[in-house]
């Protein structure tokens, strides 16, 4: 039987720093709370990029904290949506680092949104 607790590499320390402190994602019962599949994709992307050395978790977290604070100042009565801010932050960081040009991303998003879904309009 695969030992699930020991196969994750040494980077994930016992305290799981990326899941605690300021800017930490929503959790319940020690479990990450994803309300929609894209939220887990966004979280998975950020962690995978971090593990691949594209950026450090601290870089990402600092920017996330700033964006959350900005949202808190500007939001009015909108419902807090952690992963909306998370995805914006991830995109912003990659654009800023020149790794993913904004125009290219917008184009791809537009293409994907235009996909036919089997409806005849």
């Amino acid at each position: 039987m695969v030992d699930l607790m020991t196969d994750a590499g040494s980077e994930d320390s016992f305290l799981v720093p990326e899941l605690t402190g300021l800017g930490a994602p929503p959790m319940a019962n020690g479990e990450l709370l994803f309300e929609q599949p894209w939220q887990s994709r966004a979280f998975g992307m950020a962690r995978a990029l971090c593990e691949a050395g594209v950026f450090t978790w601290d870089d990402f977290r600092q920017l996330l904290i700033v964006n959350i604070q900005r949202w808190e100042q500007d939001s009015g009565t909108q419902t807090y949506a952690y992963y909306d801010i998370f995805l914006q932050t991830l995109t912003l960081l990659l654009v800023k680092k020149g790794l993913c040009p904004q125009a290219e991303l917008d184009n791809r998003q537009h293409q994907l949104a235009e996909r036919p879904h089997g409806h005849d309009h």
Partner: protein
């Protein structure tokens, strides 16, 4: 983003995330399967880690072990676990001669606070019905071959009472620090389908 004639209810963030992921893969910044691997790892590790901490303390601290077996709910309140669990947690200890395994025959009652989300097979009708009737065979199929003289006790969880197994401490871990011990406790051992 969504056009009036669009029957599809994909939220714009989902398309944004998909667009980003596809571009990052094309650019070689994300390896194929890397995102899936991260998600799977967090699903497996982060939840059950609470239970692993509880088990590790029971291995290190005889008094805590006694409290845990006497009243699981009270004992785990010594940990700062999120999400107040109102139901009763009963912890059952394995020994050389007794092996415990947990099931929920009716649905998928599971001690969330200590073990996170239940694995898929825990909710599977085959596991739920068969582990009660033929636990030794089911455990063997899951990779745990118990000797014939080991008694198997099957505990049926419910909305009122949830069970967690306290595995035996592996001999090669005696003397290790509590935090290191927690890393050695698997989710499956706390359900009782592994040692």
């Amino acid at each position: 983003m969504s056009e009036p004639h669009d029957h599809h209810e994909t939220p714009p963030q989902a398309i944004r995330a998909e667009a980003l992921e596809s571009l990052l893969m094309e650019k070689g910044l994300l390896a194929a399967g890397a995102v899936d691997a991260v998600i799977a790892r967090y699903a497996e590790r982060v939840g059950p880690m609470n239970g692993a901490r509880v088990v590790a303390r029971a291995w290190c601290d005889v008094d805590f072990r006694r409290r845990l077996l006497l009243d699981g709910t009270a004992a785990i309140s010594e940990f700062d676990l999120e999400g107040g669990q109102v139901e009763k947690l009963v912890v059952v200890a394995n020994s050389a001669k007794v092996h415990n395994v947990v099931v929920c025959t009716l649905c998928s009652c599971y001690p969330w606070a200590v073990l996170g989300l239940p694995p898929t097979w825990y909710k599977d009708p085959a596991y739920r019905s068969r582990v009660v009737r033929e636990p030794r065979s089911v455990l063997r199929e899951m990779g745990l071959d118990l000797q014939d003289d080991v008694q198997i006790r099957v505990w049926d969880s419910s909305a009122e009472v949830r069970y967690m197994v306290l595995p035996e401490q592996p001999l090669d871990t005696f003397g290790m620090a509590e935090a290191d011990l927690a890393e050695r406790v698997s989710r499956d051992a706390m359900i009782g389908v592994a040692r």
